[in-house]
Amino acid sequence: MLARLASKRLLEIRQAFHQSPQTVRSLSTALNYHIDTPDNNSKAPWEFNEANKPKVSEILSHYPSNYKQSAVIPLLDLAQQQHGGWLPVSAMDAVAKVVEVAPIRVYEVATFYSMFNRQKVGKYHLLVCGTTPCMIRGSRDIEDALLNHLGVKRNEVTKDGLFSVGEMECMGCCVNAPMITVADYSNGSEGYTYNYYEDVTPKRVVEIVEALKRGEKPPRGTQNPDRINCGPAGGNTTLLGEPKPPPCRDLDAC
């Protein structure tokens, strides 16, 4: 009894300190190995559809015929768009067949790039940037807000199949950190878009999600009304007039 009390107290103390309860390191990509599920297994047949076949040959034509494997990334991308935003293992096998390499060589590429989703994603795949600048500006809170609002875990799809949340590394938008990206598969591979929402707040992301749910397309880019594109919030703070020349420009005066 006493021991249990003591251990409970210890737990409380530990929680109070709230140092780093994270025991598992969060990785931006999903598992690096495949687990058979009914909708993702190597037995399921997968092929590029008729609409995409010409695109496949178009992509292949960019590379010399003895370097077919160079086409693996564009082909994986195409396969991902065709399959509603994610790559089942049989799609990777199909790509391996097209570029004539062993499947493992395609798996290596697909696991390397976190933009290839190897698990089912929602129609709107929300990617939270987790790299340092965004993290400092609160990306963990953004992710928590999204996960709480949608009631899912990371890389899990909502019941209605509309949303999923993932993590991405720096997307080059650090000026307007924190930011999220919405990969929009709602219109198939034709109408596929990839939108950045910058300067988001936990409140704003929830609003964006709700708008998307209603079928609206909230304006992309910075969500801070004070900011124009990636300019400073509240208007320019420097370079307001003609810049002064360097003191020694007038060589004769020296």
């Binding site: 990785l27 495949h34 499947p103 060589r105 798996y107 390397f112």
Partner: protein, 743 residues
Amino acid sequence: MGLGSLASRALRSSSSSRVLSTNPRYNLIRTIVSTPELHKPEAAAESASEPDLPKRTPVAGARVHFPNPDDVIEVFVDGYPVKIPKGMTVLQACSVAGVDIPRFCYHDRLSIAGNCRMCLVEVEKSPKPVASCAMPALPGMKIKTDTPIAKKAREGVMEFLLMNHPLDCPICDQGGECDLQDQSMAFGSDRGRFTETKRSVVDKNLGPLVKTVMTRCIQCTRCVRFASEIAGVQDLGMLGRGSGEEIGTYVEKLMTSELSGNVIDICPVGALTSKPFAFKARNWELKGTETIDVTDAVGSNIRIDSRGPEVMRIVPRLNEDINEEWISDKTRFCYDGLKRQRLSDPMIRGADGHFKPVSWRDALAVVAEVVHQVKPEEIVGVAGKLSDAESMISLKDFLNRMGSNNIWCEGNEKNQDADLRSSYLMNTTISGLEKADCFLLIGTQPRVEAAMVNARIRKTVRATHAKVGYIGPPTDFNYAHDHLGTTPETLTAIAAGTHPFSATLAAAKNPAIIVGAGVFSRKDNSAIFSLLNSLPSKFKNLITPEWNGLNTLLLNAAQAAALDLGLVPQSDSLDSAKFVYLMGADDTNLDTLPKDAFVVYQGHHGDKGVYRANVIFPSTVFSEKEGTYENTEGCVQQTVPAVPTVGDAREDWKIIRALSEVCGVRLPYDSIGGVRSRIRNVAPNLLRVDEREAAVFSGLFGGGGGKVSAVPFGVTVENFYMTDAITRASKIMAQCSALLTKK
């Protein structure tokens, strides 16, 4: 002044003494000691100006081979000039100069990856340390391997490597022979600065041979490169990225390669270890015995590691001409078969059909009595697959003295020509296959018959895109090949020039034809041999003064020596035999043997031969005896006893020598030296150990003509993992055949 700097002083002052400095490890020793004062630039300058440098010996006897004398460049390693051919890397130049550069990812026989960064050295005029394994040496380059910068760089790399490496050396099977452990002694710190959670990785199931503890992996990718380059199985890959990077197969898959065990050796850490050897012994408790393998006709060089009377594991030994530094899984993992189902006492089958252990004296007396009651032509002797030359010559001498010459070795046939060595040897030699630019494989599946020969062919095909034609039943290859046909008629067409492959063969500069030993047992073997005989006249490049491309690939370790010793039967039928002496022969079909025939089985395992035996003489296996073997290319090698024999077992030749005395036809030798002098009279080449005696005549197969039949070539080795008494007794091999053979 700290202890470290004292020690380094002492070491540095002795650097001019020649006694110490001839030792190539000397550089390593010095870098172990932490020398804070060396981090100052003055100290570096001081050590750079060391006077008259001692001559150094290349690391591990590294050989320098200059393909083109014009392409020689000179570089300076720690001030010592070395001449190397163009195209060598900085790391290779250093090893020629006798400096061993620490490394994890670099391996001589694999492509260069350059991803561990442990091999950093300083190069003069280069702004930062360079990864020596990936940097080509340029003329006049001044390489410095033991400067403070190089040392600091390596220490940094080591700290990063250890960041995510578990501290489980005490329970790791690699402990004591781990590159990471060794090098962290030289470049590691005594504590880490990493306070985050360590990475952990899910272990993978690679099958019954390779155990994985993936958290220990340092991502050197040696195993990935080995699997795709040498073994030819595209299963392993590097998945994920950053700190989530891991080795795996993505979709769960066993490693179905006959060479998979080699990843255990090349993995520099304990991520891939031997599953059967797991937690069995520590490597420093083991006694190594350098010997050879007898489970196939290649004669791979191995080291048997034993503890007391038990063989604990088998690892490869370097032999550039035979197995390079790989061995097949059968060679490596058959060792548990050495301990199971062993015959330990002489036994006689009683009237009730059960065996009774008896003394040697009684057993020999019974056999002597029986052998005198049969007619000489009713006596037959069969030497098994694993017999050594000494026992075969004794058996032959013994049976000859009893008046019979019906003695042969399993795998060889009656009308085989034992007079022409070229007709049963691999004349091109195993390493010579690398020069071939066109292969024709006839009735042979090298991948299962001789995995190391197959690895050579694959190496050649990968390097030069040599064409491979294959005649035989459909089978697995791990390189590109043309399946030309299944019957000898395809060969007739090639010989006649009507087959498209004839043109390829004729155009080849160094064509190599490899005939499987399975062809020996065909009815139309003489027809096939005369067909082969006609090939050199049609394809001029097949046999030239520099090249002999007509090869036979034997199946068993005993075959070549048996033919050298003239173990060719007058008749090889057992129909009328009354007394059969099986010397380890388990794969001889005894169905036609008359019911009343008396069978003596002399062997080490209670295998197939025992079922029909009347008397059993227990003998020794290759790990317990000294024996001479000749491999398929004619290279003679000897086994060395690693462990004591089991029970009352005796060496084969001794048993026969004792029996001959009891029978009243005493053989004139009492020692292994005596047997060998007898061998000198019959086949002197068998005494030139570790040498390959080339056949005197080239390209003459025996064979009396006739017409080839339309019967397709058969599969000679049904199950790679179980081919002889030892492997059939092995549990590991049984697991492998259950899990890994293609159904």
